[in-house]
Amino acid sequence: MTTQQLQNILGLNTFILSVFLAAPLLAQEPSEAKGAKGAKELNLYSARHYQTDEALYSNFTKMTGIKINRIEADDNALAERLKSEGSNSPADVILMVDAARLWRAQIDGFFKPIHSQYLESRIPANMRSKPDPEGSTWFGFSTRARLMVYNKTKVSSQDVDTYEKLSETINKGQVCTRSGAHPYMLSLIGAMIERRGEATTEAWAKGVVANMARPPRGGDTDQIKAVASGECGVALTNSYYLVRLLRSTKPEDQEIISKIGFIWPNQKTTGTHINIAGGGVAKNAPHPQAAIQFLDYLASDSAQEYFANGNNEWPVVKSVKIENEGLKTLGSFKAENISIAAIGKNQIAAQRLLDRVGYK
């Protein structure tokens, strides 16, 4: 091939590449979209990974006519993307599903503090960030708890009524959990570090690893199924996965439920660990009015009922009526009272601790 032919091929490739380089110039820069009056759009970055949320978003669009543009990813993935986008980020609202991650996002400056009478009156103070003169940065919209399920024939309920008992020898070969690296587990460990100190928690984690029926794998629902099949005696799970099974009409799900019992850990002591899902307005939101409208919507009765009836979480607004039979079966419980900031601060220590004891 002569230089001429090589140049021809090079030219062709350059042409193709330049078409693609030109493409973003044809796309609107977010700052231009900012000025557009009556732009009926909302850019949502959400870590909520629940299929049932589709109705939540389409209801908002139906009510207000505002179209929601979504990017859904893990809390951490979203945080990385927001970090890179910096002040040009097109995000309007950021939603996360873990308290530690919310705190982290607040510290990293992703949220814009806002004042909203409606939100402040509806959401209890311990379910939103501490307000400073400029307002609150994030608001919780629903909660979930981390409780124990156990196989009624293999384990008795008195042996598993606290998190601490998971490391005792009476439960040898019975314990199953998901991977310790998952945010739900890290938050539980972070809360434990806050309550009992790092050394005690490390000893506890070592004990749990020694008691495991199998190395961690799969998600919470997999643990529930393993408890039902007898592979495990006791497992930890988030409440909404359990409630989903409780409400299911499928015969195989009902069979699983018939074989397991559930128990609220630490009721006589510090209370069961809970986690918050919530969010706030993004720092450089191009549509701040729509963003606040959306947050108000999430705290409204219809959305709050939806969190309960759709995704089996508990709404933060106390006055909302819950019609979820599964949630009613779980009943009320004493919740842990630990500051979100503490859980957030302890997350790195929690991961390191788990690595030291070999909790996979």
Partner: protein, 384 residues
């Protein structure tokens, strides 16, 4: 660990299989016949002649498979195997330490560099092009050999494809075939971006492969491009995010699929490059010489001699990239624009929500859409 090895072996052997099969078919059928006239049995002829001559193809396939394993996160994290990839994720996501993640990634890439270097130097002195292109006469098998061949091939197909597909089909029918309304969106997004990337990567692969053919001192470029394949998708995403952050161009991600396609190219160009290079290595310099003696210009040689001979390699190259992009996940999760969920992303979100029944359809679709190009390729190979 055993589970992971089993999964990877059955999942990744096609890389070696496809590239090597093309090499066997195109390799002179006379090699075996000549070796038989010289007194070798078919097995000896295979071991002493055909196999060594297919070495570039085999190593190209193995290199791809090796890099896929290094880059994988899903299977190893499910089976609880602690690898570089899981360590990189932990450093980045749990510890929030981008720098540590990148350091681990560099360690991973040094290892890949070592492998390339070893492979390259071991074949630097050998020449692989051969003059004739006839297919071997297919000999029908009988009795024991036929049974063994059938069981081996059938068993591999069963374990690697039929059983997992059946499990997914079962999940699908259990939940009564409720198709999510977003399904068509997922499908069109996946196909759009996969086809786009495949076409561009084949063009680029041809460009780079020819550059090296003309000037072998440029071969380091191809080795460099090869690293993308061993890079876990999330690490690539960190790199691109950091780069965009420095130049304040991160908003490009939300505006178009440009950044996503670029990430795919960095990640997957290597597989198309390996395939095109393996194909080019079978075209001898004397073919070029004969053609120009017969009066063809350089461009005509490319059109009338090279491209027909390379057709299978080009299609294989496009196929690899198409399938890889269809199933790519971490970079897609991080770099995609608004409202752009692919089948892989949808499967992952449904899995995160622990809805196994609902994810059967998107994941089966990824498999089926990947099957179609494979059939195409088999027919192209069979036709010639």
């Amino acid at each position: 660990m055993g589970g992971a090895i089993w999964s990877f072996s059955f999942c990744l052997f096609p890389y070696v299989y496809l590239i090597t099969r093309t090499a066997f078919l195109e390799r002179s059928g006379r090699l075996i016949e000549v070796s038989e006239t010289l007194g070798y049995s078919p097995i000896q002829g295979f071991m002493k002649l055909v196999l060594p001559m297919a070495r570039p193809a085999i190593f190209a396939g193995m290199a791809l498979a090796l890099m896929e394993v290094l880059a994988d996160f899903g299977a190893v994290s499910y089976f609880g195997v602690q690898t570089f990839a899981t360590g990189i994720f932990k450093a980045w996501l749990s510890f929030g330490d981008r720098v540590a993640a990148v350091q681990l990634a560099l360690g991973l890439l040094s290892f890949v560099l070592l492998i390339f270097f070893v492979e390259q130097s071991s074949r630097s002195k050998l020449r692989y092009a051969s003059s004739s292109q006839t297919r071997p006469l297919a000999k029908p098998l009988h009795g024991k050999t036929a049974f063994f061949a059938f069981t081996f091939c059938g068993g591999t197909l069963l374990c690697g494809f039929l059983l997992p597909a059946f499990a997914l089909l079962q999940l699908l029918f259990k939940q009564g075939l409720n198709i999510d309304i977003r399904y068509l969106d997922w499908l069109s997004n996946s196909i759009l971006v996969a086809v786009l990337t495949a076409v561009i990567s084949v063009l680029l692969a041809v460009f780079f492969a020819y550059s090296v053919r003309m000037n072998s001192r440029l071969s380091w470029i191809n080795r460099l491009l090869g690293f993308g394949y061993a890079l876990p998708g999330a690490v690539l995403a960190i790199g691109i995010l950091s780069f965009l952050e420095i130049f304040q161009l991160a908003w490009w991600m939300s505006a178009s699929v440009l950044v996503l396609v670029y990430a795919y190219l960095v990640r997957f160009l290597s597989s198309s490059l390996q395939s095109v290079e393996a194909g080019l290595s079978r075209i001898t310099p004397s073919m070029d010489g004969s053609a120009s003696l017969l009066g063809l210009s350089r461009m005509q040689i490319l059109q009338r001699v090279h491209i027909p001979l390379l057709k299978r390699s080009l299609i294989t190259a496009g196929l690899f990239v198409f399938v890889d992009v269809m199933k790519e996940l971490p970079a897609t999760l991080l770099l995609r624009p608004f409202n752009f969920d692919t089948l892989a992303v949808a499967t992952y979100q449904l899995a995160a929500d622990e809805r196994l029944a609902e994810l059967a359809l998107p994941s089966l679709t990824i498999v089926l859409v990947g099957l179609f190009p494979v059939f195409l390729l088999s027919r192209v190979i069979a036709k010639s």
